[in-house]
Amino acid sequence: MSLLPKALLVVTAFALAACNNPDRFGAGGAGAGGAGAGAGFIDTNGLGDPNDPASIAYFNQRVGDRVLFAVDQHTLSSEAIAVLSGQAQWLASNPSYAVIIEGHADEQGTREYNLSLGARRAAAVQNYLISQGVSSGRMRTISYGKEKPIEVCSTEECYSKNRRAVTVLSIGAGA
């Protein structure tokens, strides 16, 4: 296979930079605050009112923004499938959002392998959402491997929460 022409790569890189906002408290969140403003609710995080089904807060908390995985696995559990079905429905109702799916691993593993494992997990989520009708053009995946744990202890209690794929909403790059 050959490299794509450089000019195309540069353009693509800019486009990625423009839509890549994995910080859900950043610009995407501000947009969501606007969307939820109709309820008269003021949310300093810009996540919107969790009681507003169109808000990022609702997606994150009520639908559930993450699924968990078994050790060294990327298959989706029945609980994960239930969460992802809810995500697919929410995305169908809120077509202005794009998503970045972050794959993560716990610290039990070498750095490179865990990057690959996180990518498998993110892809498993993406593939399921595609199967539920979410356009692949609305989704990007990224793996952080073991670089971004949310829990810091070195026991299964923490590891089980770190082996995750998180669906992060971003605004303005819909299908």
């Binding site: 296979m1 050959s2 490299l3 794509l4 450089k6 790569l9 693509t12 890189a13 990625l16 930079a17 890549n20 994995p22 990327h74 610290e107 039990q108 593993g109 070498t110 750095r111 490179e112 392998y113 990057l115 690959s116 494992l117 990518a119 498998r120 997990r121 993110a122 892809a123 498993a124 993406q126 593939n127 990007r140 995946t141 990224i142 793996s143 952080y144 670089e147 971004k148 744990p149 949310i150 829990e151 810091v152 202890c153 070195s154």
Partner: protein
């Protein structure tokens, strides 16, 4: 046979530029010290590393002679760095200055061997330093005390005052090389990831330092995650994985200018685990697409890309053989992480790891005879080595988390990352001999991970 490894004799002049951004924009000049013929004969002073050294060889390294007032600090400090290098190998034991009977007051006066025999010093390193303006000159000789003769020729190094530690490392490399018959490794650099903050908010930036942790320089800021840097074969460039674009991308940095460029960028993919070919013209790395990681080869100049593996399994952590003909890598095609070797052009791979547990991050030794790796087994991590056919596996370390070995330029020492467990877990750099002896923590300014050794500096 006494080793005759004064490689520097063939190079009257060593120009060191661009390898470092500030510290080493110096010119080191190496010439034999005149007036003394080398003693080219057999003697008892020899460490056979391969036989395993139980008792370190006692030596003396008195302060060098300061040939003028401005040189007095260098005369002391250079001797200390030499002793730190040699004793740090675990192969040598310094006899402290308090125990010395003899005193070296003139570099060219005959050595009173009896004074050094009396304290059981088998080797003696003497030297002299002169300093003027932006130039220092360092001379040294190595003596075999018991046979009463010089071991190899005296050498002289000239350079800027800022390069004094490098000159000390070069003296130590010459002494190490003459006594062990192995190449040295002290005049080398290590690129690594400097870490700050707790596990769940860790900041990472690239650093480069002398092999012993001195002269740290930072090459990036902490605005983006950086992982697993690797030197080019001549040390002028560094490959690493950066999240600066928002996504993991292999990045090439010119060490002199610190300019970076992203390599092999393709939309919707992640690229990581890059490593140079021995000629520095190609980069082998992992490219992930749709959740699947395979190995690719990039020609740096043309941008030409070749896919080396095509399997639904994880293929990553590739490393070239020193002759460039083969690649060792890890794959979970058998169900768990294991080590494989294939031609550098791709094709069939043969599995070499055969023991219990999981094997990753293989690195081919610069001598070509061994593969260093990370092993996970029964809840522990190990650094180990095996022959290239997978035989003679030996585990050198064990801890909660050891990973990512890198070879010293002479293939005798491995540096790696050790991370402690729990909420306060931190990474640090360690080194260990391939014998499994001499486990040491490298002194760094804060937490550090992902070391990669440079070649021996020119």
């Amino acid at each position: 046979m006494l080793p005759r490894t004064d490689r520097g004799h063939t190079k009257a002049m060593m120009t060191v530029t661009r390898f470092l951004t500030t510290a080493l924009t110096a010119t080191l000049l190496l010439v034999p010290v005149s007036g003394h013929k080398a003693q080219a004969q057999n003697g008892p002073l020899r460490i056979e590393i391969t036989e395993g050294v139980i008792e370190p060889l006692p030596y003396a390294a008195p302060d060098f002679v300061a040939e003028n007032g401005a040189a007095s600090d260098y005369a002391r400090d250079i001797a200390r760095v030499i002793a730190s290098d040699l004793s740090g190998t675990g192969l040598f034991r310094e006899i402290p200055a308090e125990a010395h009977i003899g005193r070296i007051s003139s570099f060219d006066a005959p050595v009173a061997y009896e004074d050094w025999k009396a304290i059981n010093a088998q080797a003696l390193i003497t030297g002299a330093v002169s300093a003027s303006g932006d130039r220092i000159v360092v001379k040294f000789r190595l003596y075999d005390v018991y046979s009463g003769q010089q071991l190899g020729e005296g050498l002289q190094f000239a350079g800027t005052p800022q390069s004094w530690r490098r000159m000390a490392h070069k003296v130590a490399d010459a002494a190490y090389s003459r006594i062990t018959g192995e190449g040295g490794y002290f005049d080398s650099r290590v690129v690594f990831v400097s870490e700050r903050g707790p596990k769940n908010d860790r900041q990472k930036r690239l650093g480069v330092m002398d092999y012993d942790g001195a002269n740290v320089q930072y090459l990036t800021d902490s605005s983006a995650i950086v992982l697993a840097p690797r030197f080019s074969p001549n040390g002028d460039r560094i490959l690493y994985t950066s999240y600066a674009s928002g996504f993991p991308r292999i990045t090439l940095m010119d060490v002199g200018s610190l300019r970076t460029q992203t390599l092999a960028e393709q939309p919707g993919t992640m690229t990581f685990a890059p490593r140079f070919s021995p000629d520095g013209n190609r980069v082998v790395f992992s490219l992930e697409r749709g959740g699947n990681s395979d190995l690719y080869m990039l020609d740096v100049a043309s941008g030409g890309l070749n896919q080396l593996t095509n399997a639904p399994s994880i293929e990553t952590a590739p490393s070239f053989s020193p002759d460039g003909s083969q690649i060792v890598f890890e794959s979970d095609r058998s169900g768990t992480q294991q080590l494989y070797i294939m031609s550098a052009g791709g094709g069939e791979a043969r599995r070499i790891s055969a023991g219990q547990g999981r094997y990753g991050t293989p690195v081919w030794s610069p001598r070509g005879d061994l593969i260093a790796f990370t092993k996970q087994n029964a809840g522990r991590f190990h650094i180990g080595v095996m022959r290239t056919d997978g035989s003679e596996e030996r585990l050198l370390t064990a801890s909660f988390l050891d990973e990512g070995p890198t070879w010293s330029p002479n293939g005798r020492v491995i540096m790696f990352t050790r991370e402690t467990s729990g909420a306060g877990g931190q990474s640090a750099l360690y080194s260990v001999d391939i014998s499994g002896r001499n486990l040491r923590q490298i002194t760094t300014d804060g937490a550090a991970s992902d070391p990669a050794w440079s070649p021996l500096l020119p």
